[in-house]
């Protein structure tokens, strides 16, 4: 009887422990981010879906990620500014940088400090996981909303590893649809995410790599494993990129192409190999060395498109030093990495800006009426 009582008390203690942890997590979220106490709280809050795919939910906030009333990460549009749109995926949207330190925000500060006035506004129109074709489909809507003069295109290349993820015949409408996944009320343990993160930090990298390799091995049984990305995929990427450039130019938006930078240098260290494994976890169908080959070939295509279309090119792949100072993982920036990227882009935009803002001449930015007329 005594043993039974002890066992019951032990399990009661365990239940209390877990429930109080969960309570703490919810109070923490509410105090830190004004998060709802009962409703689910995860990245889904940031997104809604339309017929093109995922898009930002206007005014949404999740932890450090705050979207404006148009559903783009960053502040509201300021009237009377020269606007630069940043197209891309998670590297552009910003994952690991401190709040307000993703490269579009840093670029805006850099440009404005160079001219000494609040003339430029950089609008981050990227979302995590956005592909070049979906960005192309959104161009009319984005240009109509933000009246961009320039567009920076920093495409994520990995979507082209597996072609089915890039739709061949995309839908033409962008009317919002009901987002059932988020509105549906369901319980989720908020403490679970924190425990998972803690475990990731606590486990030695060698153990984490072994676990990832095991997962990859299991997942790879479902796909034909490739040594390198097929040429067809690379050509598709090139075609999609050209279409995005054409869509922007058709609306008098001057594009600037940026090659894709990664954490990998010419010589791979042991930790680089571990990073490649962690990248492959998302695309088990491509062997580790295939990622490096893909970056090289697709960056080559970006350079060629820039050359062919006479577009300004910022060669971030060549200019940003590899290593963990500038990259948290295989391709996402640290705050310092985003700073380097912003500085490179500001240099790249300088000729375009000089042409628009003659040195020493105060130029009034376009008025909303002019912008309306232009569009």
């Amino acid at each position: 009887m005594r043993h039974l009582l002890l066992t019951v008390r032990f399990f009661l203690g365990l239940v209390i422990f877990v429930l109080v942890l969960e309570l703490c997590a919810r109070v923490d979220d509410a105090l830190s981010y004004n998060a709802p106490f009962w409703a689910p709280y995860n990245t889904e809050i940031l997104y809604t879906r339309d017929q093109i795919g995922q898009r930002g939910r206007p005014g949404a906030r999740y932890e450090k990620w705050q979207l404006n009333s148009l559903g783009y990460r960053g502040p509201e549009l300021r009237p009377g500014t020269i606007r630069i749109a940043c197209f891309g995926a998670s590297e552009t949207f910003g994952l690991y940088e401190a709040e307000g330190q993703e490269y579009p925000r840093q670029l805006e500060r850099e440009l404005n400090s160079r001219v000494g006035r609040d003339v430029f506004q950089v609008v981050n129109v990227a979302y995590a996981g956005e592909t070049v074709p979906t960005a192309t489909l959104r161009v009319p809507e984005i240009v109509a909303q933000i009246h961009a003069s320039y567009a920076i295109i920093y495409p994520s290349l990995a979507a082209y590893i597996w072609l089915p993820s890039v739709r061949e015949e995309p839908v033409r409408s962008s009317a919002p649809t009901t987002d059932a996944s988020y509105t549906q009320v369901r319980f989720e343990w908020r403490i679970a995410k924190r425990l998972r993160n803690l475990l990731k930090q606590a486990l030695p990298s060698i153990v984490q790599t072994k676990l990832r390799q095991r997962e990859i091995k299991e997942a790879a049984t479902q796909y034909p494993v490739m040594d390198r990305v097929p040429e067809e995929n690379v050509l598709r990427f090139r075609g999609d990129l050209s279409r995005l450039v054409a869509a922007l130019r058709a609306r008098e938006v001057e594009p600037l192409l940026v090659t894709h930078a990664t954490a990998f240098g010419k010589q791979l260290s042991e930790s680089d190999r571990e990073l490649l494994v962690s990248w492959r976890k998302f695309y088990p169908m491509l062997r580790e060395d295939g990622f490096l080959d893909m970056e090289q070939r697709m960056n080559g295509e970006i350079r060629q498109v820039a050359n062919q279309e006479q577009i300004m090119l910022v060669d971030a792949a060549d200019e940003i030093p590899p290593g963990r100072k500038y990259f948290v993982d295989f391709s996402h920036f640290t705050t310092a990495g985003a700073e380097v990227m912003a500085s490179l882009l500001a240099d790249g935009l300088q000729p375009l800006i000089d042409a628009r803002l003659p040195h020493g001449t105060p130029v009034e930015p376009s008025s909303p009426a002019e912008l309306k007329k232009r569009n």
């Binding site: 422990f17 877990v18 109080v20 924190r194 803690l198 030695p204």
Partner: protein, 436 residues
């Protein structure tokens, strides 16, 4: 337990583990050698070997970086400081000193390996002594409810303290903590700002390291091992000497027992005892880091203790006496202020930064409106007030009575402490003393 200790240490790097095992085997052999004949030569051989090992990793890269020879610099550029090396080297030295002093210590090889690598203390102390641990290692482990609950209490208190340290370091708002203040906000700082930084950093260090010590002592207690205390309400000290019997006690007692006392006994004159004291404190400073600032910090504390002794002698000689209700608070205030100013030397990035800060403190015209953010003042003030408030309450109410709660409520408090200490702070937390 040895296997767990090595597994933990290996997670920081297999090379570090190899070095720890090498040092343990070397010192065990040196101990056997010394036990056969307790000669000063044999002891010195052991001391030199340990200091050489410590210096190779801790001091040599810093010294070589000052030299113009590029090839030498490059050769030592890749040396990484093994975590906890200062702690376990001093443990090894204390073993050799104890053997030399004829203490009855005959650990087996496994016992000695465990003493050097004992998992709660191997990373960041407290610096243990074999006479305290050996009998406990030899006892068969008996898990008692008292040990478990006391261990969990200590771990939870430690977790909350380390979070307080983190709050001071990072601030209540991003970019408004002590770390940022030392890096960015300092130029143009006024007298009140420097005092706020000095006092705030003293508390940050205290919460961080004393919190860590609580966790370590609690973790060891879960295995029925009682470690010596490392902190005893240091900011209540009313003299600099007393402060060093309350702050990082495992290190200060080590320096007292194995450095100051043997040195002081070389000559009987007063000037020599004062010199020995200052020298011992300089070594204590250099133990933290081989830099001029840490040597100056140690020297500063040595001078403070010597000055306090001179003051006591003068009091006795001339019969100076103030009423206790004036003398007590005054002594505390002077000690607290002097200790706090010392933290500037400990924390400043460069000697010029330290000098600038100290110059501001002694310049009356610098006592104008503060430039540091009000939230930093609030955080420091709240932590200082909270510390003295808690110390006051726990003095009136005995520790055991305070924590005699229903087990379910106790579990809930553990969960709160685990959340704020681990799950919330896991992203940014680091222990300052890991770097030593």
């Amino acid at each position: 337990m040895l296997f767990t200790s090595y597994l933990l240490y290996a997670s920081w790097g297999l090379r570090f583990l190899a070095l720890l095992v090498f040092s343990s085997l070397l010192n065990y052999a040196l101990g056997l050698y010394l036990r056969r004949r307790q000669s000063a030569t044999r002891l010195w051989a052991g001391v030199i070997l340990n200091i050489a090992l410590l210096s190779t990793f801790k001091y040599l890269p810093g010294i070589l970086s000052l030299l113009p020879n590029a090839s030498l610099k490059a050769a030592f550029a890749d040396i990484v400081l093994p975590v906890g090396i200062s702690f376990w080297t001093f443990q090894a030295l204390s073993y050799l000193f104890d053997v030399y002093q004829g203490k009855d210590l005959e650990p087996s090889l496994l016992e000695f390996l465990l003493y050097m690598a004992f998992w709660p203390t191997v990373l960041s102390g407290p610096i243990c002594r074999l006479p305290n641990l050996l009998p406990q290692f030899r006892e068969s482990p008996k898990l008692s409810i008292e040990d478990v609950s006391c261990g969990l209490d200590r771990i939870c208190i430690g977790l909350v303290m380390t979070v307080l340290g983190q709050v001071l370091a990072n601030g209540l708002h991003p970019g408004q903590g002590l770390d940022d203040a030392f890096h960015r906000l300092l130029p143009g700082g006024t007298g009140p700002d420097v005092w706020c930084l000095a006092i705030g950093y003293g508390f940050e260090l205290f919460f961080n390291f004393a919190g860590y010590s609580h966790i370590v002592i609690g973790a060891a207690r879960l295995f029925s091992i009682r470690l010596d205390e490392n902190f005893a309400r240091p900011y209540l000290a009313t003299t600099p000497s007393e402060f060093w019997t309350r702050w990082h006690m495992s290190l200060s007692f080590w320096v007292r027992d194995y450095l100051f006392l043997p040195l002081a006994m070389v000559r009987r004159q007063m000037w020599w005892r004062s010199t020995a004291l200052v020298l011992a404190m300089i070594v204590l400073g250099l133990w933290h880091k081989g830099s001029v600032l840490f040597a100056v910090w140690g020297f500063y504390h040595g001078v403070l203790i010597v000055l306090h002794r001179k003051w006591q002698q003068s009091q006795r000689r001339f019969g100076w006496r103030l009423p206790g209700f004036i003398m007590g608070p005054l002594s505390w205030l002077i000690t607290f202020g002097a200790i706090s100013l010392g933290w500037i030397l400990f924390r400043a990035g460069t000697a010029s930064q330290a000098l600038t800060m100290l110059r501001v403190v002694v310049t009356p015209s610098q006592y104008v409106s503060p430039v540091l953010p009000p939230s930093l003042y609030f955080a420091v003030f709240a932590c200082v007030l909270g510390y003295f408030g808690t110390v006051g309450v726990t003095s009136l109410w005995r520790y055991n009575r305070l924590f005699k709660l229903a087990p379910e409520l106790r579990v809930a408090l553990y969960a709160v402490a685990v959340y704020i200490g681990i799950l919330h702070a896991a992203q940014t937390q680091s222990f300052i003393y890991f770097q030593f």
